[in-house]
């Protein structure tokens, strides 16, 4: 299976939605950031990042979100290769679009398309219907940014949320 890296144009009702890298900054927050994940498996990493959403009161029930994420993984791993995984989904349990980030030094088996361990996990949760239709453009932009080897290498070194934000600020 070959992965197509890059941001596709998404249309909804004839409107083109353009997403810049800096626009992603609106969806990150310090309470959804882990520089050293404890998880060493895919399931544990989904649980660890979903827990951040609960702690931040973005979602109330973790079980609903995990159910959705695990269903999504059964369709094909969200480990898109090159050490990156982007578990994602729209769920009734989410009020707004948000992205959690976790970094694993040792890497974990995510059943990725290249069978390599994953070090960078971005969890994207969105409500079922979003008036601004940001979910798919966000996913596309994230894939595009993470396709850059420099960006991935910088992200693998981040220790603080500020450093993490700087990486996205520095993307051309």
């Amino acid at each position: 299976m070959q992965i197509v890296w890059g941001n596709k144009k998404h249309t909804k009702e004839g409107k083109d939605i353009k997403m810049e890298t800096k626009d992603l900054l609106d969806y990150f927050s310090e309470d959804l950031f882990i520089s050293q994940m404890k998880a060493s498996t895919k399931d544990a990493s989904l649980d660890e990042l979903a827990s951040l959403f609960v702690k931040s009161k973005i979602i109330r029930k973790k079980s609903i979100v995990l159910e959705m994420l695990q269903k999504r993984e059964t369709l094909g791993s969200t480990g898109i290769g090159k050490g990156v995984a982007i578990p994602h989904g729209r769920t009734t349990a989410a009020m707004d679009v948000k992205i959690a980030f976790g970094k694993s030094e040792q890497g974990m088996d995510f059943d990725s398309i290249d069978n390599k361990p994953v070090n960078l996990v971005f969890m994207v949760l969105a409500p079922p219907h979003d008036e601004n239709n940001r979910y798919l453009p966000i996913l596309g932009k994230l894939v595009e940014v993470l396709s850059g080897v420099k960006n991935r290498n910088k992200l693998k070194k981040v220790e603080t949320f500020d450093e993490f934000i700087q990486v996205f600020n520095g993307v051309d």
Partner: protein, 110 residues
């Protein structure tokens, strides 16, 4: 084991996933066929009582979302304030509660 409301939410989440699958594939994610999801949907639907499933399917025909969030005790579908008598029951997730205004199933965020 998931409660009735959680099952309904899982069903709505699956329906949304089925709708999104082609676009997610376009972005570059590895995604299997819709058939797999539809099978999962059927299995999930079997766990629901017939009246609940019938109610959900009818609401889906009428609205984009059959299950609608409640924020500050207001239905975000029709913006009607939820009666106090329903709030405690709704928050507990024990019962499936329909909005008295629009009829949609209510899900409390807070």
């Amino acid at each position: 084991m998931l409660k009735h409301l959680e099952l309904l939410v899982a069903l709505q989440d699956l329906d949304v996933m089925i709708t999104d699958i082609d676009e997610v594939k376009q972005i570059g994610f590895k995604v299997g066929g819709k058939e797999k999801l539809k099978e999962a949907r059927s299995q999930l639907a079997e766990k629901l009582s017939k009246p609940l499933l019938y109610n959900y399917e009818n609401l889906r025909k009428r609205y984009k979302r059959a299950i609608i969030p409640v924020k500050d005790d207001i239905c975000l579908g029709c913006f009607m304030r939820i009666p106090t008598s329903l709030i405690t029951r709704g928050r507990s997730d024990q019962d499936v509660i329909n909005c008295e205004g629009c009829g949609r199933v209510l899900y409390w965020y807070d």
